[in-house]
């Protein structure tokens, strides 16, 4: 009996392995291209950044960078402006997110409550900021914001100053928001459209006002799209800085509108005077990666991601 028990695992080993191989070979091969891409473009840069952040590589030491351990991180901690930059990042992400999701929701609700062809046109117009190259889009904003008497905004509000220099945060949030709102707009629109018409008829029969319909029927059905848009845009806003770079260059003055990723870019790549520190910039970027991971995990927990992707409890045949 003992020999039988011993014999079974020995004989089952290779058989089980062969069976596993046969079962997962095809899926593994299908997943291979995507896996390679993810490893090349997502994992390798993360590890390279972490490695670079531990060296003292800069223009001066480009030929033979030395291992610096956590020296770059210590330098970062001693930066008197780090708190300000973190605050700026939180402000940027928070306000722009509010605008993006809120405006996207409002626009989606508006554009689905009018006949479809008008709704389509309205959505197409709102997509234009996203389609334009960022530099062109910012040029338009700069033209609008010029100081009196050249700018449209200064003529309308009666202020003398350039809108961008006078209210840099407002300019940044609005410029980014108009681009970001279209993302939420599209996703929420398709989600609203997929709500069965029966629910709306039932609500109408029950005497619900528009606001009540929105609150009780539409918004609960949009829970997952809102989660997705919020999570996606938080992460994308944490790392995006091109509109800030183009609009205010992080100024005016000492880091008024500099966010974390912009500061990392300036340290690592902005070369006007010819001497940049890649190691220090990489350290900032590495911190951003960690923050991004934490934020993603938080979001998935708060909105109960497991429930979203769980098997449905009702089988429809």
């Amino acid at each position: 009996m003992q020999s039988q028990a011993e014999a079974t695992p020995v004989r089952a080993g290779p058989v089980v392995r062969a069976a596993l191989l046969q079962r997962y070979a095809a899926p593994a091969i299908f997943l291979l291209p995507a896996t390679v891409l993810i490893v090349l473009f997502f994992l390798v840069p993360v590890f390279t950044t972490l490695y670079l952040s531990m060296t003292d590589i800069s223009v001066l030491t480009f030929r033979n960078p030395q291992w610096a351990g956590l020296e770059n991180y210590r330098t970062l901690l001693q930066d008197p402006f780090l708190g300000k930059i973190m605050l700026n990042t939180a402000r940027y992400v928070g306000f722009t997110l509010l605008f993006n999701v809120g405006m996207g929701l409002v626009l989606a609700l508006l554009s689905t409550s009018v006949p479809e062809r008008y709704g389509n046109q309205m959505r197409a117009v709102w997509l234009l900021p996203r389609i334009l190259p960022p530099v062109v889009y910012v040029l338009i904003w700069q033209g609008l914001s010029r100081d009196a008497p050249f700018g449209l905004i200064s003529s309308l509000t009666g202020s003398e100053r350039s809108f961008i220099s006078g209210h840099p945060w407002a300019a940044i949030v609005l410029a980014n928001g108009m681009v970001g709102a279209s993302f939420g707009l599209l996703i929420f629109t398709s989600a609203i459209r997929s709500i069965s018409q029966d629910l709306f008829y039932a609500a109408a029969v029950d005497g619900a006002t528009t606001l009540q319909t929105i609150r009780r029927i539409v918004l609960p059905m949009l829970k997952w799209p809102i989660l997705f848009v919020t999570a996606y845009q938080t992460l994308s806003l944490l790392t995006s800085f091109e509109y800030i770079l183009l609009l205010t260059q992080g100024g005016p003055g000492f880091f008024t509108t500099t966010v974390w990723s912009l500061h990392a870019y300036n340290l690592a790549l902005s070369n006007y005077f010819g001497n940049v520190q890649f190691g220090l910039g990489a350290a900032m970027a590495a911190v951003l990666v960690v923050i991004g991971i934490i934020v993603s995990v938080l979001y998935l927990r708060i909105f109960n991601f497991r429930a979203l992707v769980a098997e449905p409890k009702i089988e429809v045949n």
């Binding site: 030491t61 350039s162 220099s165 100024g251 005016p252 003055g253 000492f254 005077f273 010819g274």
Partner: protein, 449 residues
């Protein structure tokens, strides 16, 4: 065989192809990178091409069996992207054979080991003996020479003569102004008073009393110097920051903004917002460079008569100082040709540069772009009125210090100027912030006094 003749023809064809190669010239491709970024400076590249033609003729005469073909580019985008490209080129080993950049780059790139020292090569070519001696200081770092001066310039303060006349100045007063600035009789305070007067009397609009560059650059160093600031200590080789001088400079800026002489957003603009009001004749004083004269003439004042309008309406002088009797100041940032370590044709490269450093090409570039020549004998060839009139500024000129961390110094000072002008910090706060930033980024290589 029937095909014997065919075979013979083929053999002859192959021989015809092969044999001439044996006696053909070897073509060496020289990669040359040059940058303006202002358009009129295109001769920084074209002069090398012309020099290559001359060198090729000389090589043919010598029977050296080598011919040079110049390839490369003239960059008009900006320093940022150009320097980044250069860095990647150096590291990848695919570097150009000759690269032109501003003289402070010699310090940074020499410290990084990207370019070669030229001390041994220079005596071989007599063309280099003609270079104005003081210019060699600009390309020296740690006792060695790292580049060949390509051009120089000066950075004057320009003033609008028509506006001064409207303010009530006589022609004689206007003609005397450069002399008064040079003697230290007309200081920054006088500039402030004059500009404030002009704003109050509506001769100029608010904010157009004084203009300076809208982007980071080395000019802020000269304005800080003109307020008495030190930036380099030769004995120790360290950078210096004089808080008192910076405070004077920042206070001047703050007062200028408060009194409507200087725009609060002067730094948050692009170059067109500098050139357009200037060429409309709306700005009383503006700081710039000699090459701006050529830019204005060619690109902004075509309709108004170019050069003629400029001479009639704009005057220039070195920058004033902060106290009576002090010495006027200007700054030159010579451009230099350098040879990267990774170049495979260093000897040919230095020879090509020698052929480029000749009076007629020097004059062509100087006149074409309103930069100043580097060779003493070019003055005979230059008949350009502006260059003749502006060359006295070179007597007051200064260079940026040769230090590998100069970039951090510039960056911190620029942030201070930006903070003060935009009202984000008071002058006192800004000075402390700048000093702290320099201390943090340059550490022991800077002396804060």
């Amino acid at each position: 065989m029937r095909h014997k003749w065919l075979v013979a023809v083929m053999v002859l064809a192959v021989l015809a192809l092969v044999l001439p190669q044996a006696s053909a010239q070897r073509v060496v491709v020289m990669k040359v990178w040059a940058i303006g970024p202002d358009n009129p400076s295109v001769n920084r590249f074209n002069n090398v091409v012309t020099a290559a033609d001359r060198l090729n003729a000389e090589l043919r005469r010598e029977g050296a069996g080598v011919q040079i073909k110049v390839e490369g580019s003239f960059d008009t985008t900006g320093w940022d992207s150009y320097l980044r490209r250069a860095l990647l080129a150096f590291q990848s080993g695919d570097a150009p054979d000759i690269i032109q950049a501003a003289h402070p780059q010699t310090a940074t790139w020499a410290a990084a080991g990207f370019i070669i020292a030229l001390d041994e090569m220079i005596p071989k070519y007599r063309q280099f003996n003609d270079v104005v001696p003081s210019l060699w200081d600009a390309v020296k770092f740690k006792g060695k020479i790292w580049g060949i001066p390509q051009d120089t310039e000066a950075r004057p303060i320009y003033f609008n003569k028509a506006l001064l006349r409207r303010l009530g100045w006589t022609d004689q007063q206007i003609a005397e102004l450069p002399g008064r600035i040079t003697r230290g009789d007309f200081t920054w305070d006088d500039v402030m008073v004059t500009a404030r007067d002009a704003v109050q009397k509506n001769v100029v609009e608010r904010g157009k009393g004084y203009y300076h560059r809208p982007t980071p650059g080395p000019d802020f160093l000269q304005w800080y110097r003109s307020h008495g600031g030190r930036d380099f200590e030769a004995a120790s080789g360290k950078l210096v920051f004089t808080k008192e001088a910076a405070l004077r400079y920042f206070r001047w800026l703050r007062t200028a903004v408060d009194q409507g002489v200087l725009e609060r957003d002067r730094l948050n603009n692009e170059w067109p917002r500098f050139f357009q009001p200037v060429s409309d004749g709306k700005v009383l004083f503006f700081s710039g460079g000699t090459w701006n004269w050529a830019e204005l003439e060619r690109e902004w004042l075509n309709a108004k008569g170019g050069d003629e309008w400029l001479f009639a309406n704009i005057g220039f002088a070195p920058h004033p100082t902060w106290r009576k009797g002090g010495r006027a100041i200007t700054m030159s940032q010579p451009q230099a040709y350098m040879i990267p370590v990774a170049s495979k044709n260093k000897d040919l490269a230095i020879r090509l540069i020698a052929y480029t450093t000749v009076p007629d090409l020097d004059a062509k570039h100087a006149v074409g772009s309103a930069h100043l020549p580097v060779l003493s004998s070019t003055a005979r060839l230059v008949k350009d009125r502006f260059l003749k009139e502006v060359s006295y500024l070179l007597n007051f000129t200064t260079f940026q210090p040769p230090h590998a961390n100069l970039a951090e110094w510039h960056g911190a000072l620029f942030r201070g100027v930006s903070a003060v002008e935009s009202g984000q910090a008071t002058p006192e706060q800004a000075v402390d912030l700048v000093a702290a930033e320099m201390q943090r980024t340059i550490r022991d290589q800077v002396i804060i006094e």
